[in-house]
């Protein structure tokens, strides 16, 4: 089941800019670092073409997928971006946080995009993030947004993806999932590096409490691999190396809209689903606080949010009205939403991750 995959694209002002990139990306899972200006120069940089002669800075856009490119090129036209290279974290969005922790004040990053509410507490505790000072009262979220450091930019429910061609009757709960024959394989994400990976640990905990290790033990024979990042496991799923993978209830929208393919579906579980709200934050060490805040303001504005559904394949955090693709409204959504309090996550997440990893080791 070979599908076209995403090509790296660059913010160039060349005709290649208009090629329509095929393939699903969830760019927030790939790109978590935004650097607004390069503080140091090094030889190979000189080999790079100066892409935007109007800018006083060299744009070092490297492997920029469509979603982020769309947001940034729009920013450019608004003369806002003297921006920007994107520092790929390599190990998922939590990996980006680790990297900033590791680099401390010497980090080149200004903004981290793609953390979620589950890891936000730990991120806040590092003391590396500055207040955003934005008025976010206009956002459309289940609860009013009160976080002073992090800005939400999209959300969806976690879900197990399957292909109706290989799994005609999908599991309706984790218990049905682990009862599947052992040759049914699932590609998961590492909870230490990827927010969906952490999300699954929390989801199972929220649904099963003390029985969570049982579910993990049941999952063990089905786990093909645990990848660093969402993209890698989703790729294995689409290539047919795995039958199932962890993604979102909104993921089928991509396959319907881009590929006219209705066989990729999200399994709805009776015990309910955990939702993920993805967030972005400005680092205190950044020399470009105002620029960084402008970027976050744009990310949560209607203009910025219009780009989210069809590039990051998640729900926007503002009401887009007629600008929202109607396919999203047709996607089945879980009847029940599970929640875990931020306090519980802050207190127990590490222990729950250990519990899950030890069980499958």
């Amino acid at each position: 089941m070979a599908r076209p995959l995403v090509r790296p694209d660059h913010l160039t002002h060349s005709p290649s800019h208009d090629r329509n990139p095929k393939g699903m990306t969830k760019w927030s899972s790939q790109l978590a670092f935004w650097r607004l200006r390069s503080p140091w120069d090094w030889l190979p940089r000189q080999l790079l073409p100066r892409i935007n002669p109007r800018s006083q800075f060299i744009l070092t856009m490297v492997s920029l997928p469509n979603g982020a490119r769309a947001v940034l090129s729009n920013l450019d036209s608004r003369q806002l971006a003297v921006a920007s290279s994107i520092l790929s974290p390599l190990t998922g969005s939590i990996g980006a946080l680790r990297r900033v922790q590791l680099e401390g004040d010497t980090t080149a990053a200004d903004v981290i995009v793609g953390l979620d509410t589950a890891i936000a507490g730990e991120a806040r505790a590092t003391g590396l993030f500055a207040d955003h000072h934005l008025d976010l009262s206009g956002l459309k979220l289940p609860e009013p947004w009160t976080d002073k450091q992090f800005v939400p930019f999209d959300y969806s429910h976690f879900a197990i993806m399957y292909d109706t061609d290989t799994i005609p009757t999908p599991p309706k709960s984790f218990e049905e999932l682990i009862a599947l024959p052992a040759n049914i394989k699932i590609a998961l994400q590492d909870p230490r590096s990827s927010t969906p990976g952490l999300g699954l640990v929390l989801w199972i905990k929220a649904a099963y409490g003390d029985r969570a290790p049982e579910i993990w033990a049941g999952l063990k024979p089905h786990i093909l691999t645990m990848t660093r990042d969402w993209s890698e496991s989703y790729d294995l799923f689409l290539k047919g190396e795995a039958d199932l993978t962890l993604s979102y209830t909104t993921s089928p929208a991509y396959h319907i809209i881009e590929d006219n393919d209705e066989t990729i579906k999200a399994a709805l579980f009776e015990e309910g689903h955990l939702a993920q709200i993805e967030v972005a934050g400005v680092l205190k060490s950044s020399e470009h606080q105002q620029l960084a805040r402008d970027f976050l303001a744009y990310l949560t504005s209607v203009d910025g949010q219009k780009i989210i559904p069809m590039t990051n394949w998640m729900f926007p955090v503002v009401d887009l009205g007629a600008d929202m693709n109607p396919i999203f409204a047709t996607l089945p959504q879980p009847a029940k939403t599970l929640t875990i309090s931020d306090q519980d996550i802050a207190k127990h997440a590490r222990q729950w991750i250990d519990e899950a990893l030890t069980t499958i080791q």
Binding site: S88, T106, D190
Partner: protein, 531 residues
């Protein structure tokens, strides 16, 4: 010993260099230890060192055992058979030592994955699925044996080919059966090499990074190297990483010191000798089967990388700035670290061959092995902590650290290549050099370099290829502005662009084999042209 030319300068230079390398390693270790005591503990460390040690040892032990078995069988088959293209095939197997682990890991999926060639063929012919052996322990072992089995075969073949003709003639006249010949002649020739070879393969498997990272299947199968990387990059558990690094250094040092007592494995090899043995038909048949299977096992994953890479994503890849940027970086880093390795190797080996004192020779021999004890990810972690504690942005120091670490990466193999012949020259031609009153430079230019042209090329090729395929060092240090091809490939894999990854893998493979085959020839020719 009296015949050695007086070369005080050489000894001084190599001693300085040895001190420098030791100093850098010590600084790196100090940075790690300092971090271990100062970095605040971010909660309970979830690292189970005993579990990791057990799993890594099982994996490395199995890799060693299977690789030696496969290597012996393949060496035996290659030794017995003569056919057109034999030298080319041996050349391909020789390239195993420099083939980037990432490339093999990538090819593994195309061949051994569920939608890979073998499972598809098995489904089509027998309607039986082989499952997905590309992931987990089976995947790691398969990928390691592909590389290390071929490496072992190349080394063992050299031993078999060096069996003196007179012995073979005597054996033939005694009408030895294939099995008796193997026991009496072949085994005797190979036996001495096996322990040292086993130690090297065990170390390579024990410190394996990209293969385990890509095929390990997550936390269930890790090496210490991957666990260090995960501790730093996923948990921000520096204390845990430091503990792992110290364990790694401990285990590797034990293996190196016990292996040091064993004979060295030569890594530069001349052409095979001619055949003078008539075998039984069944033995020849068996040899062909072994050779066929081994060739398929080794060549198929690499061929699949070429097929996938050149078919799908190449055009797209070539139109991206990041690819050209990464290629330029890889070439520059590879070339500089190759030259640096050569400089280190020459300085150390020339000094070593000029010194008569046994203690001095041991001291000058040690820096070469520093790297095996302090492997890529540990060195990288130490370098990272070191520059961070000095207040330098890791990104700014990255190029220097990566070049230096890559230069050390190839040093053990480079010293094993150039050291012995330089020793031989100093000993066998010392009197001539002294009587001619040659200066140190004349000695190098007129005597040593012309004789060693090919080996100089081998050293450059080894180092260039190691650097070209390195992921362990760059993985911690790479930034968007400082990206090599393996890192770009790793990123493409993680960013859902496997077409790009396939194309990069193909280019890495072609680049590695081309450099490995071409550089020794080029330098052999250059050395002869000079005279």
């Amino acid at each position: 010993m009296q015949s050695l030319p007086q070369r005080r300068n050489r000894i001084v230079i190599s001693l300085t260099l040895a001190a420098l390398i030791t100093g850098v390693i010590a600084a790196v270790l100090w940075a790690i230890l300092a971090a271990a005591t100062t970095v605040s503990d971010s909660g309970s460390s979830r690292i189970d060192i005993l579990h990791l040690l057990r799993m890594t040892s099982i994996q490395a032990g199995l890799t060693t055992l299977i690789s030696l078995l496969v290597g012996t069988a393949l060496a035996w088959a290659l030794n017995r058979l003569r056919f057109p293209g034999r030298n080319m095939l041996i050349g391909i197997f020789s390239a195993a030592i420099v083939t980037p682990g990432m490339v093999v890991a990538f090819g593994m999926l195309s061949i051994w994955g569920r939608s890979g060639w073998i499972n598809q063929a098995s489904l089509a012919m027998f309607n039986v699925s082989i499952g997905n052996p590309a992931f987990g322990l089976s995947g790691i072992l398969l990928a390691h044996v592909i590389l290390d089995g071929a490496f072992a075969a190349r080394i063992l073949l050299a031993r078999l080919d060096s069996i003196p003709q007179e012995r073979l003639k005597t054996g033939q006249s005694l009408n030895l059966s294939p099995w008796t010949r193997f026991i009496i002649l072949d085994w005797q020739a190979m036996r001495g090499t096996l322990p040292g070879l086993a130690a090297i393969i065990f170390l390579l498997a024990f410190t394996s990074f990209p293969i385990v990272l890509l095929l390990g299947g997550g936390p269930a199968n890790q090496t210490l190297e991957v666990a260090i990387y995960a501790a730093v990059r996923q948990d921000f558990d520096l204390r845990g990483a430091v503990l792992l690094a110290l364990t790694q250094i401990g285990v590797c040092s034990i293996i190196i010191f016990s292996a040091a007592a064993l004979p060295a494995v030569p890594s530069s090899l001349g052409p095979s000798s001619t055949k003078s043995w008539r075998d039984r038909a069944w033995a020849l048949g068996l040899a062909w089967i072994v050779l066929g299977l081994a060739t398929l096992g080794f060549v198929l994953p690499l061929a699949s990388v070429l097929v996938d890479g050149l078919a799908a994503g190449l055009i797209n890849l070539l139109s991206t700035v990041s690819f050209w940027h990464a290629s330029a970086t890889s070439l520059i880093v590879g070339s500089i670290s190759a030259l640096l390795t050569l400089t280190f190797t020459l300085a150390l080996s020339l000094g070593r061959s000029a010194s008569a004192s046994q203690q001095l020779r041991i001291v000058l021999g040690l820096p070469a092995y520093a790297y095996l004890a302090v492997p890529a990810v540990v060195l990288s972690l130490g370098g990272f902590l070191l520059v961070r504690s000095m207040g330098i942005a890791p990104g700014a120091a990255a190029p220097y650290v990566v070049v230096f670490a890559n230069a050390l990466l190839a040093l053990p193999f480079a010293v094993a290549t150039l050291g012995p012949p330089l020793d031989t020259i100093a000993r066998s031609r010392g009197k001539l050099i002294r009587s001619l009153g040659l200066s140190s430079w004349q000695q190098f230019k007129l005597i040593e370099y012309p004789l060693l042209g090919r080996d100089v090329g081998v050293v450059l090729a080894l180092s260039f290829c190691f650097s070209l395929g390195d992921l362990g060092v760059i993985a911690l240090f790479g930034t968007q502005d400082f990206t090599t091809l393996p890192l770009l490939m790793f990123r493409a894999l993680g960013a859902y662009r496997s077409d790009d990854a396939a194309a990069i893998a193909a280019i890495l493979l072609i680049g590695t084999i081309a450099a490995f085959e071409a550089l020794p020839r080029l330098f052999e020719r250059l050395a002869h042209a000079r005279r």
